[in-house]
Each structure stands twice: as structure tokens, then as C-alpha cells.
């Protein structure tokens, strides 16, 4: 697991709008050269935030990246 590579990428996706747009337009290209395992790269290619979290991505990042965040709802019974 590349804890730093996964989380610094998540952080950049949240804070750097231009990079986020590049990632959305060409995900494989945006990931090129990053020190990710095959599993991690596959999870980012699939934009699977739950999987990225399971691989070590911090919860608050995967829940708040604009356009990519995982939204978990659990309505309570009235």
C-alpha cells in the first residue's frame, strides 16, 4: 500500500481544480508516473472511492472531493 501516494493524490484532487479536471478528462494520463500499486491504480481508474478508502485513502477525503466524493446516506425511520 502506498499510503502517501494515495492520500497526496486524493488531496490534490480535492484542492487543485485544474488537476481534478485533467483527472476527469484523462484519468490514466493523470495517474502516469505516480507510485501506485496495481490495485490502487485500478481503483482510481474506476473512480471507486469506497475501494480507495479500503486501500488506505482517508475517509474525509473520499467523502469530500468535488464530483468524485462517495455519498453515504442512511435515512432514519420517522
Amino acid at each position: 500500500m502506498s499510503r502517501y501516494a494515495v492520500n497526496s493524490l486524493l488531496y490534490r484532487l480535492k484542492k487543485d481544480r485544474a488537476f481534478r479536471e485533467r483527472f476527469l478528462a484523462d484519468t490514466a494520463g493523470a495517474l502516469a508516473g505516480l507510485d501506485l500499486s496495481e490495485e490502487e491504480r485500478a481503483a482510481f481508474l474506476a473512480r471507486d472511492m469506497a475501494r480507495i478508502n479500503a486501500l488506505g485513502g482517508y475517509l474525509h477525503l473520499v467523502m469530500s472531493i468535488p464530483g468524485l466524493a462517495v455519498h453515504i446516506t442512511h435515512p432514519e425511520r420517522e
Binding site: Y11, K15, L59, H60, S64, P66, G67, H74, P75
Partner: protein, 281 residues
């Protein structure tokens, strides 16, 4: 001689729309009830004519990147800006509509930092880090439309392992109390976040809260039994979703051995919302 005139802790996403989106109308109603209590806590705080408000909260990987993650950090300088997140989602939206800039209590922050280093607390310092909802949601709920008391923001690293221990956070609170006692100021202190939510910080566990553990913490706080709180471990806090209780531990150290009162406790699957206020002599 200075004095801590108000001490409290409370949940920090005080945003009815966030909880309605996550939990339905029940979520909205519960956070509104929690906010109503926090407003009355703000009334009591302001009635004591405070000079400063120390706010102990965590960073949600907003102010600090992976460039450096301080265990504990004091915000110094004259002003602090609120975080500005483009296209904000989820809890980041709680900041929307709040003022951009807030006055700091420069002298109290400097004393906590400088005297801390002198006393063995190697606190980090920041002139630039912005503050997110963990600070501003409680501060703005307490103040409403009234002028905001000069702030002393203090970050505790609650999420990026390894975190400071609960006992060390308690000791930081004791240090803050000593600094305040030597100062000329009337000071409030709040710790924010919690109670139990997001155990182990895993997506499949979002929606679980450990109410039994929360009740145990609340009992110890109500009765002023602070020794067992100091033996809590980071592992326990991680497994029970009590990461942000580290912020509460700082307040506990600042006011020990004062007992306190639970002002609000609302169980939601998402989180157990809470507001607590200590009884100060």
C-alpha cells in the same frame, strides 16, 4: 488574574441540510435541537464578557496537506481566514455563507505557544492555516449575529495516525489553564467534534455509532471522574469512532476536576450529536 470563564464541547457539523441529506428529516430535527442548545451555551459564554475563545478542533485534511501534519498546532497572527473550498461537497458546505475573516487573540495565542515550548510542549505554529467547519460551525452557532470573540484556534491531529495520546491532550489543556491563570484575561475554551461516528474511518462503517462508549465518556465527564479518561488509548478511540474526543480531552485538562452537564445527546446512525458544558467554580 486570568480565568477560564466558560468551557464546553460539541459536535461540529452544525448544518441541518447536511444531516437531512444523510439521515432524512430526523437528522435535520436532531441537529436543529442540538444547535438550539449550543446557541444558549453561546448566550452564557458571552454574558461572561470573555476576552478570548480558545477553540480546539481537528483538521479534516484541509489546512494541512501531507507536507506536514502537526500533532498539535497553535494559530498565531492577527487574523485567520475560513477555508475556501471550490465546489464544496458534504461537510465542507457547512462553511457557506460565513464571514471570510476572524480576529485572533494574538497575545494569548503567543503565550500558549511560547510558554508551551518552555514547558516541554513542542507545539507547531502557523501564521497561514485557514480554519474549517470544525472551528467555525460551533463558533458561529454560539455567536449568531453578534461580534465574534477573538479566537485562539488550536489544532489536534485526530485522524492521521499516529495521533497524540488522550493523556497528552489532557496535559495540553492543563498547560492552557496555567497560561490563562497567569494572564489578565477572561477566556472561554471549547473542544469540537463527535461524539461517536465513522469507526475505523472506513466507508462501510459510516452509519455506525457506539452509544455505549459515548454514555461511558459522558458519565465520567458529568461526575468529574477524569482519571479513567486519561487511560483511553488511540486504538480504543479509532475502533469506537471517537477520534475527535481528543479535542474534548484538551478541554477536560483545562478545567479538571470540574463536573459538567450534558446539554444535548441525539442518536443518529450517522453520528451521536452532543453538546456538553462544564460547571466552573
Amino acid at each position: 488574574m486570568g480565568k477560564i470563564v466558560f468551557a464546553a464541547a460539541m459536535s461540529h457539523v452544525l448544518d441541518p441540510q447536511y444531516y437531512q441529506d444523510a439521515c432524512g428529516l430526523s437528522g435535520r430535527r436532531k441537529v436543529e435541537a442540538c444547535m438550539a442548545e449550543i446557541r444558549t451555551m453561546g448566550d452564557r459564554f458571552l454574558a461572561r464578557r470573555p476576552d478570548a475563545l480558545v477553540v480546539v478542533a481537528d483538521d479534516h485534511i484541509n489546512a494541512f496537506s501531507f507536507n506536514a501534519v502537526p500533532a498539535m498546532c497553535v494559530r498565531i497572527g492577527r487574523h485567520v481566514e475560513r477555508m475556501n473550498q471550490e465546489e464544496a461537497e458534504s461537510f465542507d458546505r457547512a462553511l457557506e455563507g460565513m464571514p471570510e475573516r476572524y480576529a485572533l487573540h494574538e497575545d494569548l495565542a503567543a503565550r500558549i505557544l511560547e510558554e508551551g515550548l518552555g514547558a516541554g510542549f513542542d507545539l507547531a505554529q502557523s501564521w497561514e492555516a485557514p480554519i474549517d467547519h470544525a472551528f467555525l460551525s460551533p463558533v458561529m452557532t454560539m455567536h449568531g449575529s453578534r461580534p465574534v470573540t477573538p479566537l485562539v484556534p488550536i489544532w489536534v491531529n485526530c485522524f492521521i495516525a499516529p495521533q497524540p495520546t488522550p493523556a497528552r491532550c489532557f496535559a495540553l489543556g492543563q498547560h492552557i489553564a496555567r497560561v490563562v491563570a497567569r494572564s489578565p484575561w477572561a477566556v472561554g475554551i471549547i473542544g469540537t467534534g463527535g461524539l461517536s461516528h465513522f469507526p475505523e474511518l472506513l466507508v462501510p462503517r459510516v452509519g455506525e455509532a457506539d452509544t455505549v462508549f459515548d454514555r461511558k465518556l459522558v458519565h465520567w465527564m458529568e461526575t468529574g471522574e477524569h482519571e479513567p479518561l486519561q487511560t483511553l488509548t488511540s486504538t480504543e478511540l479509532h475502533k469506537t469512532g471517537e477520534h475527535e474526543f481528543l479535542n474534548w480531552m484538551v478541554v477536560l485538562g483545562a478545567i479538571t476536576p470540574a463536573p459538567g452537564d450534558l446539554r444535548y445527546f441525539g442518536e443518529l446512525g450517522r453520528i451521536n450529536l452532543a453538546a456538553f458544558e462544564w460547571r466552573l467554580a
